[in-house]
């Protein structure tokens, strides 16, 4: 009986030791994290603000900034501008020894071709500390996805299936375009609109991909012989699509088209065709941390919140993008915009494609277009 009691005591002791080893450090870790976070928050409030640079964006202005300020009491100073303008400004400031920006929420091209190669960034990865942000199970790829070659500078929180083009089904029946080559049907001559493909932007990016996959002859036929109507103004081609003036729109944006669909316009988003795979992209932005940030603690709070469920979901709902987090219900999106397992996608935000592939193909496409 005594032996049994001793065994039982030994069992309890072993269990206690096991628990100490198994849970103790985790509990200590949790306390460490909490301590670090509360210290960061206190320091962030002392810093007074966080400076974020990004594209002009109603979601940022109307939802992200007020929500973040309400939650942490830290004002967000948001500088909006075109990427090329922001890059020029930063270069000039830095040449004068001014480091005024904390966080970039920028497009893939500027991030990959300016901020990263010009060493304007600090590693973002070590700053992510919130458990819900670093917990791999919360991310579809098993961890936060850092897309830069060193996998620590540039976080990609979104991956949506991007539209290949839109059609107005009052004028174009879906079965009339089963392959990308159907766009070359003389019936559609002058009926296709595109963002001006001869300058940097979505129009040129699509032309680069088409050049990459179908070659120069296809580019010549589509962009020269089919006489697509081009513009730089996104509302213009969306209106043309709705009115049927140009019922095929190569670069209409989903967030521009959605309100017109709600008004009853029969607009259909085409993601992929028999001869071209659907594409994914990281819109609306990639997140990175500016080096020598003037408000390092506020920046740490901002990037953690921005990568959390609350921050990403707010942006995803406002912008209409699919996220890479597993704890966000994507039912607010068109199902076609959410990548499906097992489907092979062309990744338009893939690093090497941005840095070399897209650039080279774009240049070749431009050469062809200007040869007319």
């Amino acid at each position: 009986m005594k032996k049994a009691g001793a065994k039982k005591s030994l069992g309890f002791l072993l269990a206690a030791v096991f628990c100490w080893f198994a849970i103790g450090p985790a509990g200590a870790q949790q306390k460490d994290w909490e301590k670090d976070w509360s210290q960061t928050l206190a320091a962030a409030k002392k810093e007074g603000s966080v400076v974020v640079v990004g594209s002009p964006d109603p979601v940022m202005r109307g939802e992200i900034i007020p929500k973040f300020q309400a939650r942490y009491g830290i004002p967000v100073e948001f500088l909006a501008g075109r990427s090329s303008e922001v890059a020029a400004r930063l270069r000039t400031e830095r040449a004068a020894g001014i480091y005024a920006v904390d966080v970039f929420l920028s497009g893939p091209d500027t991030t990959a071709t300016v901020f990263y190669p010009e060493k304007m960034l600090d590693p973002l990865k070590p700053l992510l500390v919130l458990p819900e942000v670093v917990d791999g199970s919360k991310w579809k790829r098993g961890k936060p996805w850092f897309v830069d070659p060193e996998e620590k500078f540039v976080l990609r929180p979104f991956s949506s299936v991007a539209s290949l083009f839109f059609i107005n089904t009052d004028f174009v029946k879906p079965d009339e375009i089963k392959s990308i080559k159907d766009l070359l049907n003389p019936k559609w001559k002058g009926k296709i609109s595109t963002e001006d493909p001869t300058t940097t932007g979505a129009g040129a990016n699509l032309a680069a991909r088409l050049h990459h996959e179908f070659g120069p002859d296809f580019i010549r036929k589509l962009y020269l012989e089919q006489k697509p109507v081009s513009t730089r103004e996104r509302r213009q081609f969306t209106d043309w699509l709705a009115r049927g003036t140009q019922p095929i729109c190569l670069n209409c944006r989903e967030d521009d088209v959605r309100p017109l669909e709600k008004e009853g316009y029969k607009l259909l988003e085409i993601f992929g065709l028999s001869d071209i795979a659907p594409a994914t992209n990281g819109s609306p932005w990639l997140m990175s941390l500016a080096n020598r940030p003037p408000h390092p603690n506020a920046a740490k709070v901002f990037v953690n919140w921005m990568a959390s469920k609350e921050g990403i979901e707010l942006y995803a709902r406002g912008y209409g993008s699919a996220t890479l987090r597993t704890d966000i219900d994507h039912s607010f999106l068109n199902p076609g915009n959410v990548p499906k397992p097992g489907v092979k996608y062309f990744d338009d935000t893939e690093w090497s494609w941005i840095v070399t592939g897209r650039h080279d193909n774009r240049e070749m496409a431009w050469k062809l277009m200007k040869s007319r």
Partner: protein
């Protein structure tokens, strides 16, 4: 001999002061206007990748000019600028003459409407013209096609002539009327009356008397408009791109938004404006050499207006009809646009809403941006009048040794497009000890905008001072007045209408300019124009229309206030 020496002494002192002021102005303009341009020109020869050690060469220049589209775009720009400059000048001279020199009723109203029209933002106005003229859904095309003798479509904004038409509506006439009217007001009636006594009719008086005496102003306004025409690209982007009409400024714009950016190539292309400006300056000087344009002297001055008789109502009708068609019609669509759920979509359910106005006033940064804009615009307006009235005086009084250089420097801010000038100024601000005051502040933005307005303001004041006779100053001096006193109490009141015009143009442009503050603002100094850019960029056209209208309303109120203050200063002039 002693008397002569005594008289010469103050004159020598005055001359020394003029020289001092001259060199001070040269240094200021050299630094503020020349330096950013020199920085940009030097940078354009740097062919090293960004953030690498500088390597100098001609690659950016050869790349920019070897582009196949560059020359054709330049030709198109010249063609467009000239095409809408000619009718624009004729219309604006006639309109300004009718307002300033005749007894046409409602002249003040016509002038006010021109001011109002000038400050309506381009972008939503061009969209309004598309709604009116589009071959497929334009309202005017639909209306005309209902007529039995007019097969549709009759109008097409996506064409060369469509662009010309829209330019005449957005700024081709209003800007010129604004600048010419106060100059014409200064033309006394004495010469005109003498001509009429000699048997000349109204048209002959206008052609042989009124216009020749304001030739410096006409040439300056034509040159300013021509350069503005060459630099214009917003209208061309919306109306030209769909039909393959590209202009030179679009090429420059494309280089500035290249990724990675190609500011070197953009500056290289911008250098063409320098050549154009130098040519215009040469032509201007040559045309005016040896001529006098004095109309305000110390001897008698009549402000009697030309009597149009029964033509006066016809003249008013003509002016109002032009304004109604070219401004009020698209403006009505613009106003509608600001209260529509989607601009131009009249057939959707419940198309009208006030939500865009509510969202505008509900934007968390709206009131801060409004305050910033008003502060920036007020500083710019006052600074422009103070600075350029002095420079204009110096250039007109012909006592300067370095007048051509100073005048060339005042044109510099228009040599490069706004975004490049903004970059040059950012560089300059950061390189000066004043950077803590100028960088990211409303002061820095106001200074940049004051600099950017230099060509318009200088030329307007110069033309005004050329009208004043030297006897006014001499009489004051003989009576013992100092130069400052003479300048403040005699010269400035005489050019007060021009000063008011310059102040209001600077105020209004400071409210609407986007490209100049875009690299200079911080979150705390963000002006309304940047907010307008953000709305346009993110496709919020309706809210942009609402904000554009609000800005126009602010300028209009300022204009009414300005007129109230200027009138007592100038009497009935």
């Amino acid at each position: 001999m002693t008397t002569a020496l005594a008289a010469a002494a103050p004159s020598a002192v005055r001359l020394r002061r003029v020289r001092l002021a001259e060199y001070g102005a040269l240094v200021f303009f050299g630094v503020a206007m020349g330096l950013p341009v020199v920085f940009l020109l030097l940078s354009s020869f740097n062919i090293a990748p960004p953030s690498k050690e500088a390597v100098f060469g001609l690659d950016n220049w050869s790349r920019a000019f070897s582009d196949t589209g560059t020359l054709s775009a330049l030709w198109m720009s010249f063609l467009l600028s000239i095409t809408y400059l000619i009718p624009g000048m004729i219309l604006s001279v006639v309109m300004a003459w009718l307002i300033a020199r005749t007894d046409m009723p409602g002249g003040n109203l016509v002038e006010f409407l021109c001011w109002f029209a000038y400050f309506v933002p381009d972008f939503p106005l061009v969209l309004a013209w598309i709604l009116l003229l589009d071959p497929n859904f334009g309202f005017l095309n639909a209306a005309v096609s209902a007529l039995p003798f007019a097969p549709a479509p009759r109008f097409n904004p996506y064409s060369f002539w469509g662009i010309v038409w829209v330019h005449l509506s957005t700024g081709g006439v209003w800007f010129k009327v604004m600048l010419l009217t106060p100059i014409l007001r200064r033309v006394g009636a004495t010469l005109e009356e003498a001509a009429r006594v000699a048997g000349a009719n109204h048209f002959t008086v206008l052609r042989r008397i009124s216009l020749p005496v304001i030739l410096p102003a006409i040439l300056a306004v034509a040159a300013l408009s021509f350069i503005r025409g060459l630099e214009s690209f917003n209208t061309e982007l919306l109306l030209g791109t769909p039909v393959g009409i590209y202009v030179y400024a679009t090429r420059i714009y494309d280089y500035t938004r290249h990724e990675p950016s190609a500011y070197g190539e953009a500056t290289a292309l911008g250098s063409v404006f320098l050549v154009v400006l130098a040519s215009l300056a040469y032509f201007y000087q040559r045309r005016l050499r040896g001529k006098k344009f004095t109309v305000v002297t110390g001897q008698g001055y009549s402000t009697l207006k030309v009597k149009l008789g029964r033509w006066r109502y016809l003249a008013l009708g003509g002016c109002l009809s032009y304004i109604a068609v070219m401004m009020l019609l698209p403006l009505a669509f613009l106003m509608l646009g600001s209260v529509m759920r989607r601009y131009g979509f009249f057939h959707i359910s419940a198309p009208f809403t006030l939500v865009h106005w509510r969202n505008l006033f509900g934007d968390a940064i709206f009131f801060l941006a409004l305050k910033n804009s008003l502060v920036i615009a007020a500083i710019t307006g006052v600074a422009a009048v103070a600075l350029y009235s002095t420079v204009g005086y110096f250039l007109a009084c012909k006592k300067l040794r370095t007048a051509p250089l100073l005048e060339m420097l005042t044109w510099m801010p228009w040599v490069v497009p706004g975004i490049l000038m903004s970059l040059g100024l950012l560089w300059m601000f950061l390189a000066t000890p004043l950077r803590s005051v100028l960088y990211g502040s409303v002061w820095g933005i106001a200074l940049a905008l004051t600099i950017k307005e230099s060509p318009v303001c200088t030329q307007a004041f110069k033309a005004a001072f050329l009208q004043l006779g030297p006897d006014l100053e001499e009489a004051a001096r003989v009576s013992g007045a100092s130069w400052i006193y003479t300048y403040r109490r005699i010269l400035v009141p005489l050019v007060a209408p021009v000063a008011a015009t310059v102040g209001l143009i600077s105020f209004g442009n400071a409210l609407t300019s986007i490209s100049t503050p875009v690299l200079l603002y911080s979150a705390r100094s963000r002006p309304l124009a940047i907010l307008l850019m953000e709305y346009s960029f993110s496709g919020e056209v309706e809210r942009a229309a609402a904000l554009g209208l609000l800005i126009t309303a602010i300028v209009s109120v300022m204009m009414l206030i300005g007129r109230k203050f200027v009138r007592p200063l100038t009497g009935n002039l």
